[in-house]
């Protein structure tokens, strides 16, 4: 007998969510969704959540189980029960709960819409199909597997503190077109995606890769967009300057020049930006956190340079 500890919420009835426990024998081979259905159909018909395909392709049944987002239909329930024979179910994070495990997807879709999520071909199409090599297909194959379930969005650490961030799903969707050999707007796309709220606001925690139930792996896609942006010379933003400064510092000295990176990230001629660093710098100084003024190379800097040289080739 397992305990399902479920976060219940019905704004028609209560102002605040609460946890309710249900006891259930997990049938052999049952998915988490099968168990949720058994609870709904035999114990409490008012238990509310989304579901549809049962085969991990429609993306409806993403919920938080034991603190992490997953697709309920994709997991065997007995694989999820914790040491106390309990499964804790909560609605996805970073979205407003509507009722029980149902959340409001409006901001999620608004952000998908922001990345111009459709092909922008440059010229009129040929009579038959456009040619695309299998290699070009593979550049967009992974991002095209996204099922818009919101699991990555739920557990994204940036979204927790910054509503303005486009988030992993929208950025993965963006890569679907940035990487498409048939699209004509690559430069415009990476310029827009380099704006605040875009690729450079990702903190590289890769939580989205852990949560993605498909091969879409949003953070991998974000890195691909970053690469294209840098290759296309879209450097005029803090994120790109930061990445380049970081790169150059390691290349030159084998470690980070922490005095130089913030200044280079802001840009030498960005006076308001540079001024905004002063209070942070002062606080660091008062707390004794200022890095050494004179930057030293590591002893093995020649090895580092050799690595960079080989990578260049």
């Amino acid at each position: 007998m397992a305990t399902f500890r479920i976060k219940r919420f019905n704004p028609e009835k209560q102002a605040e969510p609460y946890f309710e426990e249900f006891q259930l024998d997990i049938p052999s081979g049952a998915t988490l969704l099968d168990c949720m259905n058994l609870i709904k159909w035999t114990l409490d018909g008012s238990f509310s959540y989304r579901m549809s395909c049962r085969s991990a392709i429609c993306g409806s049944c993403a919920v938080k189980a034991n603190g992490h987002a997953l697709l309920a239909c994709q997991r065997q329930a007995e694989h999820i029960v914790d040491n106390d024979e309990t499964i804790t179910l909560e609605p996805l994070g970073n979205m407003k709960p509507v009722k029980d495990l149902v959340v409001d997807f409006t901001p999620f879709w608004d952000k998908i819409n922001k990345v111009k999520p459709y092909l922008e071909p440059g010229e009129a199409p040929p009579e038959k199909e456009r040619r695309q090599s299998q290699e070009e297909f593979l550049l967009i194959d992974d991002s095209s597997t996204c099922i818009m379930c919101g699991a990555c969005y739920s557990d994204c650490n940036v979204l927790e503190v910054d509503d303005n961030f486009l988030g992993p799903a929208a950025l993965a969707k963006a890569q679907r077109f940035v990487g498409d050999s048939r699209d004509s707007q690559t430069l415009e796309r990476v310029k827009e995606l380099s704006e605040p709220g875009g690729i450079w606001d990702c903190t590289h925690c890769a939580e989205c890769v852990e949560r993605c139930p498909k091969p879409a792996r949003p953070f991998d896609r974000i890195k691909e967009i970053m690469t294209v942006a840098l290759e296309k010379g879209v450097h005029n933003n803090n994120g790109a300057r930061h990445a380049l400064s970081f790169f150059n510092s390691v290349k030159r000295s084998g470690n980070l020049n922490e005095n130089r990176i913030p200044v280079e990230s802001m840009g030498f001629f960005n006076i308001p930006g540079l001024l905004s660093l002063i209070p942070v710098g002062l606080r660091m100084f008062l707390k004794g956190k200022v890095p050494p003024i004179i930057h030293h190379s590591i002893d093995e800097v020649d090895d580092v340079k050799r690595i960079f040289k080989e990578l260049d080739q």
Partner: protein, 569 residues
């Protein structure tokens, strides 16, 4: 009252393709009880058929013949001809919209073999073709957001009709529970299938006959409902789909003795015979005690394909096996069984997607249907794999064009908003107030069980009569169920009860038509009438509503190029 020129119910492939066509000149609404990207078209895996000839020379003529032979000669051949001729164009258009396809070495759309097709003509995107097309169409709708409004998570209760004209639909916003009247010059149904009436099914929870029953309830007939396709490779017990592409790529079917039993049933096509034949072969092996370990399943063996090919061509189904039953098809066989998959029958339409209201083909004005919910009929008694995505796209576009042409030249019809709303509110209130002793879960399970055992792959008169009696009993018990959620907000329980009511109605229609058809053809097999009987049954069934229950009439089959012939593989 909400108004739109064209209202489309359903946002799968047919609904969205329809919207893209109609929105070229008109204000369009797409209504879906889920979200477009959650539609069940996305679960289609293996491919979409077209005689592109990218791998081997091919022609529409061959595609046409394969489709008709696959359908056991019940297809309307004029519709089939236009449908297969349109196939290459609509696929190129999808590619131009941005749909992602696997490619040949020279960069063309890749194609592979599929059951019943004599040439490799399944265009595919790995093993998630439906998903790729669904998202490409959704992308185009987002691009055209100015002229298409999408109503996510709205449930359609009923059609509004005035004599021979359809004027709109009555709907609920699932999130708020509010009932609204949606007035339209043209209504298009693209509401999908109803496989959920069976215990073992590949269908989504949403595939519950809402659309077809809304049409039936206003006096329109349903065509060929007895023809339900059982897909040969549903995951044992769960029923979820393992693509036919697994066999298209060379997979074997083995019985419990390790024999490739298809030798006995379809020696020339083996595992790539049409689905009705393969599903019956599997069920015969299981019934004869030759299932794996004596259980109700047989084995799908992909091990000889090798890891590289499986990872390139079938990555998703490999993952499904690992996630759902802990079996990696690279090293082990997958346990499968026939699973209710596709409804050949549905709302009768002519080849321009106008719904017809009698066996003579009289049009219902302002009402159109496309995709699985419709019966054109291009599939006849059995659909070939990869022909359904094609159907959704070809006839989705046509329905959009027909609805546009109809709506451009006409004003809104008369709708009595208060009256229409009151009818639905009354029905809803009745459900809300139910406080009986019956469990809807039991009723649903008993319906699914009896449909599977008595109206499934093999049928006979005795079983069907028991099935019909059981369903009538369930319909009575349905009125005495109990609803626990009395709230309005996102009340999924209420919609599940409404869906169950629709499914009970649909199940009875399927079983009644199956009882009437005393022959075996395509997906309908009667052990007491085991051969096809063209002299008495080369016609479509048209099932009408009546106070005494379903009444069945005949509609003739359109035969142009291919006279019915013996069907062997």
């Amino acid at each position: 009252m909400i108004q739109h020129d064209v209202v489309i119910v359903g946002a799968g492939l047919a609904g969205m393709r329809c919207a893209l066509e109609a929105c070229k000149e008109l204000d369009v609404a797409v209504l879906t009880k889920v979200y477009p990207s959650r539609s069940h078209s996305g679960a289609a895996q293996g491919g979409i058929a077209a005689s592109l000839g990218n791998v081997e020379p091919d022609s529409w003529e061959e595609h046409m013949y394969d489709t008709i032979k696959g359908g056991d000669f019940l297809n309307d051949q004029d519709a089939v001809e236009e449908y297969v001729k349109a196939a290459p164009r609509v696929i190129y258009e999808l590619e131009h919209m941005g749909c992602i396809f696997s490619r040949t070495s020279d960069g063309k759309i890749a194609q592979r073999s599929f059951g019943g097709h004599s040439k490799p003509r399944a265009c595919f995107s790995a093993d998630r073709t439906g998903h790729a097309i669904l998202h490409a169409l959704h992308e185009q709708l987002m691009k055209n957001a100015k002229s298409v409004k999408i109503y996510n998570e709205w449930y359609m209760h009923s059609l509004i009709v005035d004599g021979d004209r359809c004027n709109g639909v009555v709907v609920s916003n699932v999130q708020t529970g509010e009932v609204e009247v949606l007035q339209a010059k043209a209504v298009v149904f693209a509401t999908g299938g109803y496989g959920r009436v069976f215990k073992i099914t590949s269908n989504a929870f949403a595939s519950t006959a809402d659309g077809v029953m809304a049409a039936f309830d206003v006096g329109l007939p349903l065509e060929d409902p007895e023809f339900v396709q059982f897909h040969p490779s549903g995951l044992y017990r769960q029923g979820i789909l393992f693509s036919e592409a697994a066999r298209g790529e060379g997979g074997y079917l083995l019985n419990g003795n390790g024999e490739r039993f298809m030798e006995k049933y379809a020696p020339s096509r083996m595992e790539l015979a049409p689905r009705d034949i393969v599903a019956r072969a599997e069920q015969s092996e299981i019934n004869a005690g030759r299932g794996v370990n004596g259980e109700d399943c047989i084995h799908l063996d992909l091990r000889h394909l090798g890891e590289a090919r499986i990872m390139e061509r079938l990555p998703q189904i490999r993952q499904l096996g690992i996630d759902f039953i802990g079996v990696d098809c690279i090293t082990d066989c997958l346990p499968i069984q026939p699973t209710a998959h596709y409804s050949m029958g549905g709302i009768p339409t002519d080849k321009h997607c106008h719904v017809i209201r009698d066996e003579k083909g009289t049009r219902m004005n302002g009402f159109f249907a496309a995709g699985e919910c419709a019966c054109v009929s291009v599939h006849g008694g059995n659909r070939l794999g990869t022909n359904s995505l094609l159907e959704a796209v070809v006839f989705g576009e046509r329905a959009g064009r027909s609805a546009l042409e109809y709506a451009v030249g006409i004003d809104y019809g008369n709708v009595n908003e208060g009256q229409e709303k009151a009818k639905v509110l009354e029905k809803l209130e009745d459900v809300y107030q139910r406080d009986g002793s019956e469990s809807y879960n039991d009723i649903r399970n008993e319906m699914k069980e009896v449909m599977m055992t008595h109206c499934g792959v093999f049928r006979d008169e005795e079983k069907l009569k028991i099935c019909i009696e059981t369903l009538k009993g369930l319909q009575e018990r349905f009125k005495k169920g109990k609803v626990t959620d009395k709230g309005k907000l996102f009340n999924t329980e209420i919609y599940e009860v409404l869906e169950l009511g629709n499914m009970l109605g649909m199940a009875l229609i399927i079983a009644s038509a199956a009882l009437e058809r005393k022959e075996s053809r395509g997906g309908h097999f009667r052990t007491d009438f085991a051969i096809r009987d063209d002299a008495n049954f080369l016609h479509h069934s048209m099932v009408f509503n009546s106070p005494e229950g379903p009444v069945i009439k005949k509609k003739s089959v359109v035969i142009t190029k291919h006279q019915p012939a013996e069907r062997t593989y």
